[in-house]
């Protein structure tokens, strides 16, 4: 149950509260370039969501099994060449960015093939924008966020599993779609307005985007409140004195801790 709540909060946060476009500023190029018509915007949003999900799946898998410090596959393969001790400390994370960008290219190729086969008119209307999804910051950003929650946390219990990673990616794409569709709707209206010449095109889009971002700021803190309300543990109780009888049975989790105690002086 707590898992579902966590997934729901990650999804809500990625889609609305920390919206990829309006809070993290990723995916701005298509936000300004492709948002002229609502149907194009919906198509682009769906394509990006599709690509993000596949890319997240690939990058989470590769990070967890190959790239992370101490990743199973790399350690197993390295075990054939070096001693077990050194093999366990293999850290391929320096290759992360290269792997991610190629995973994204592969995902875009895959989606391109799929769309060309099953939705030919859509493929034609996309034109050059479909391969350009490779350079959409939102997808690489999703991969980087997943990496920071998988390889960047010291505590194995807090590491993201595939469900959380996919939730972030998919609903990040949904949030991107929401933002770009709203912008397209507004721009369709703006086409009928008398905008001063210096502001036509990108400038007015950015200003409208700013007002949208202001509106979305109203969602701040919603996931915090929901998390507190839904996962209420026993509140910080008034501390009672240490019972000497229990002193020795306190579990210090040396045997259960997964990570090493570093002695630093």
């Amino acid at each position: 149950m707590e898992y579902m709540i966590d997934i729901a909060l990650i999804a809500l946060s990625a889609a609305l509260i920390n919206n990829f476009v309006l809070y993290y500023f990723v995916g701005i190029c298509p936000f300004i370039g492709v948002s002229r018509r609502v149907d194009m915007a919906v198509g682009m949003g769906c394509a990006v969501t599709f690509v993000i999900s596949i890319a997240a799946l690939i990058s989470w898998s590769i990070t967890t099994f190959v790239l992370m410090p101490g990743a199973p596959l790399s350690c197993w393969i390295a075990g054939f060449f070096v001693s077990g001790e050194t093999a366990a400390r293999i850290d391929l994370s320096i290759l992360s960015y290269i792997v991610y960008i190629f995973a994204i290219s592969a995902s875009v190729q895959f989606v391109e093939m799929y769309v060309r086969k099953f939705f030919p008119p859509l493929y034609k209307s996309f034109g050059v924008f479909l391969p350009l999804i490779t350079t959409n910051c939102a997808i690489l950003f999703a991969c980087l966020t997943i990496m920071s929650h998988v390889a960047g946390v010291d505590n194995p219990a807090e590491r993201w599993d595939l469900g959380r990673a996919l939730a972030l990616a998919f609903f990040g794409g949904v949030g991107f779609t929401i933002a770009i569709v709203i912008m397209a709707g507004i721009r369709e209206e703006l086409d009928l307005c008398d905008i001063p010449a210096p502001f036509q095109g990108a400038a007015i889009t950015l200003i409208v985007g700013g007002i949208l971002a202001l509106a979305f700021m109203g969602f701040t803190g919603v996931d915090n409140g929901l998390r507190n309300a839904l996962t209420q543990r026993a509140p910080a109780a008034v501390y009672t004195a240490v019972d000497p009888a229990h002193v020795n049975s306190n579990r210090s989790i040396d045997s259960e801790t997964f990570y090493l105690q570093a002695v630093v002086s």
């Binding site: 309006l22 809070y23 993290y24 500023f25 990723v26 995916g27 701005i28 190029c29 300004i32 320096i94 290759l95 992360s96 960015y97 290269i98 960008i101 190629f102 290219s105 490779t134 350079t135 959409n136 910051c137 690489l140 950003f141 980087l144 966020t145 920071s148 001063p196 010449a197 210096p198 502001f199 990108a202 400038a203 007015i204 889009t205 950015l206 200003i207 985007g209 700013g210 007002i211 971002a213 202001l214 700021m217």
Partner: protein, 201 residues
Amino acid sequence: MATQPNAAERFAQGILPENPVYRQLLGLCPTLAVTNGLKAALTMAGAVAFVLLCANVMTSLIRNLLKPHLRIVVFTLTIATFVTIADRFLAAYMYQMSKTLGPYIPLIIVNCIIICRCEVCASKQSPITAAADALGQSIGFGLALCSIAAVRELLGTGMIAGVRLLPAAWPDWGVMILPPGAFLTFGLLLGLVNWLSRSKK
């Protein structure tokens, strides 16, 4: 084939006439994301300059070996490698700044400016011209970032690069530091640049 601009022209064009942010509208993600402080903006501009210079020169050196269908792969590989190097460098020697800039340094990989310059200039011209182009575009990018960062930081905190400029009575416009401020500042400055370039004609 039309005559292509030489090194000096590439350099000069990158700064204002073909400014990557204000005229070509490329690389908008870092423009909005890291401009809430002047120091962060300068660091990002420096990182992009390094990657752009290295990627341009490298691409230009191997330009005769590139064939059409694999060149994007080669560009991507080159850019990703140099971005990784820049990211590790920042994490080692400017750790706090690296934490501030966060995921936006690796996002340089998909920064359209670099791929665009590799495609348009470096894959067709000599390393010297490519280097000049990279420098010009980087200076233009840096100018754009700093202009936005200066406005946002000044109005948002009364300081520029940590130096207090406005009197203490200034009510810090918090919205400038937040996302809406980024969009609004950039939109208004873009309108200003458009108006200036129109009135010059």
